[in-house]
């Protein structure tokens, strides 16, 4: 027994003296609890709503005011046409449009059906349905109060406000449409970031890096030669995933494939640079792999791939801006589902490019000193 215990003690010493295992054993579980608990909020709030008022009468005015006053909504003003609304959706400036049918008040007074149509951005199905539900509640509340008022003053005749909803983009609200951009983002991250960093560190671990450095081969060539295969492989993977999604799962590619590929290439560049940066700060392949895997956690939670970023606390939303995948997933959803053209994803592309350059500069700074 004593023999056994002394061996157990030895095993504990191994663990306690290795900061990386401690990180995983003690810190990671805390993060895994905090993230869902604190960051992931399924409640939907701050719904940016615009109004398309085809009646412009007292009741639509009142209903609009109610909507704006409601704590879940943020009023974003009026739109004149559905095209305008579509434009705002594409720019990502609104979440919901409330369309009041013509002759709204008249119809109510004459006991006919007045219509309200709710247009929501269907590319995030869960969010969309909740937003619609909230809006319906506001309308229902208005209807009820108005009915009561009419009953009291005796002017009442039964009326009905018909609410129907339409999902723009992804009308059938299929989850795979939401899902595919996230998967591509994750795959590229794994291949470019993790595999690249491992490949570079492997060279160093094996000892052949020294030989290469002592040869006339310029060090930039060593690095580029590491990056190129992974770039090609990730493009191939991306192509196969897209084909599978498009042909087998009927995920749309509403926008230009060219725009998508350009965005993907920039994201690949950023991921490769991140992989390069990681390789400059670790010494073993194992460490490279661990760090890359650790990066997966914030990517899943904060990138918007599974959980909606808009619902998160501000701190988490700010943090999500650092996650490269967030920009790529946002852009690819816009391109694939909403079919936007290049200008609409300019912010995302810019963010990715800046991040890529920052990683590259940092890696460059550490690289030379590391190898030498």
């Amino acid at each position: 027994m004593k023999q056994f215990l002394s061996f157990v003690r030895k095993e504990f010493i191994h663990i306690l003296r290795d900061p990386r295992s401690l990180l995983i054993l003690l810190v990671m579980p805390q993060i895994m609890v905090l993230l869902p608990g604190y960051v992931i909020k399924n409640e939907v709030k701050d719904i940016r709503v615009a109004v398309l008022d085809q009646s412009r009468d007292i009741y639509t005015e009142q209903l609009t005011q109610r909507l704006y006053a409601n704590e879940y909504f943020i009023g974003k003003g009026e739109v004149r046409t559905e095209e305008e609304a579509a434009e705002l959706f594409k720019k990502g400036e609104i979440d919901l449009v409330v369309v009041f049918g013509p002759e709204f008040a008249n119809r109510i007074i004459h006991s006919q059906d007045a219509s309200v149509q709710l247009l929501a951005d269907g590319s995030e199905p869960n969010q969309a349905s909740v937003r619609v539900a909230y809006a319906q509640q506001v309308v229902a509340g208005f209807q009820k109060e108005l009915a009561q008022q009419m009953a009291q003053t005796g002017t009442g005749q039964p009326f009905n406000i018909r609410v129907n909803s339409r999902m723009l983009y992804n009308p059938q609200q299929r989850s795979e449409v939401n899902f595919v951009p996230g998967v591509v983002g994750m795959v590229i991250l794994l291949i470019c970031c993790m595999m690249t960093s491992i490949a570079i560190v492997r060279e160093r671990e094996m000892g052949t890096m020294e030989i290469l450095l002592a040869s006339p081969l310029p060090s930039i060539d060593i690095v580029l030669a590491k990056l190129v295969p992974y770039m090609i492989i990730s493009l191939i993977d991306m192509a196969t995933i897209l084909c599978l999604s498009y042909f087998v799962m009927n995920v749309p590619m509403s926008g230009s494939l060219m725009v998508y590929v350009i965005t993907a290439v920039i994201y690949i560049f950023t991921s490769l640079m991140l992989g390069l940066l990681i390789s400059t700060v670790v010494n073993t392949q194992l460490a490279a792999m661990l760090i890359s895997l650790l990066l997966i956690v914030p990517t899943i939670y904060l990138s918007g791939m599974v959980f909606a970023v808009e619902s998160m606390p501000i701190a988490a939303q700010i943090a999500s801006n650092i996650v490269p995948a967030k920009w790529f997933i946002s852009a690819s959803r816009k391109i694939m589902v909403e079919g936007v053209s290049m200008e609409y994803v300019a912010t995302e592309i810019r963010a990715l490019a800046i991040e890529g350059l920052v990683f590259m500069l940092l890696a460059w700074r550490f690289f030379k000193t590391r190898l030498a």
Binding site: G207, E210, I211, L212, A214, S215, P216, A372
Partner: protein, 247 residues
């Protein structure tokens, strides 16, 4: 062995912060010599050698290798030297042939020359059967010989060997030195670091580093006389005892 100087170090120094790894080292190596760079572990041999190979910048002093300044013309230096590291690193998951082709390419050797040299080399070493064998399947002694052959494959004028015989049995070490002799006979200058004192006897001249300085420089015979020792081991022991830096 001619009198042409191929390596010249003058006050070569490397400091890491306040720690002086290599302390104003001065020596010359002539063409075709087998020069042994001896010293205990931690004495500063590898640091000095890395500077000579253009892998690290000197903090002070200067050195020229094959006529090129190691601080400013290191790209040229690299083109004219061969290097074999402590781990005698070859790509384990490449075959013997693939390793040779790769390094031939890196050193800019034309394709047909690479092909011819591979055939020649394999025959000399008796490796023909192993042409397509992955390096990881080779026994240690063969890897060592292959690593050396790789280092001189592009026919450099100088080859730097960093502890090339670590972890290998004495018989294999002896065989390895046969290869070194052969290279020296063909005019290649061999600069070898080692902490095996018996190998010091195989060199034309040696230097012994202690605490980053060269405390002895000369042929084995000269040094044995100077330090009143019967073997290089005695010489080394006499010097190393005064060392402050150890393992």
């Amino acid at each position: 062995m001619t009198d042409e100087i191929v390596i010249k170090a003058e006050g070569l120094t490397k400091k890491f912060g306040s720690f002086t790894a290599t302390d104003h080292v001065t020596f010359e190596v002539r063409k075709g010599e087998i020069f042994g760079f001896l010293g205990a572990n931690g004495a500063g041999k590898t640091t000095a050698m890395r500077m000579l190979c253009g892998l690290s910048q000197p903090s002070e002093g200067k050195a020229t290798v094959a006529g090129y300044d190691v601080a400013t013309e290191y790209e040229q230096v690299k083109r004219h030297i061969g290097y074999m590291s402590q781990k005698f690193s070859l790509y384990d998951d490449l075959t013997v042939e693939e390793n040779l082709v790769l390094f031939g390419g890196i050193y800019g050797m034309p394709r047909n020359k690479v092909r011819d040299k591979i055939a020649e080399l394999l025959q000399e070493l008796g490796f023909e059967a192993e042409r397509k064998t992955m390096v990881k399947s080779l026994p240690l002694g063969w890897k060592q010989k292959l690593a050396f052959s790789l280092a001189i494959f592009h026919e450099p004028s100088i080859v730097f060997l960093d502890e090339p015989t670590g972890g290998v049995d004495p018989v294999t070490r002896r065989q390895f030195w046969e290869l070194i002799y052969k290279a020296a006979d063909n005019g290649i200058t061999v600069f070898v670091t080692t902490h095996y004192m018996d190998e010091a006897e195989y060199c034309d001249r040696v230097s012994i580093m202690v605490d980053g300085r060269i405390d002895a420089l000369g042929s084995p015979a000269q040094l044995k006389q100077q330090f009143h020792g019967n073997s290089m081991y005695d010489v080394f022991y006499a010097l190393a005892r005064t060392a402050k830096r150890g393992d």
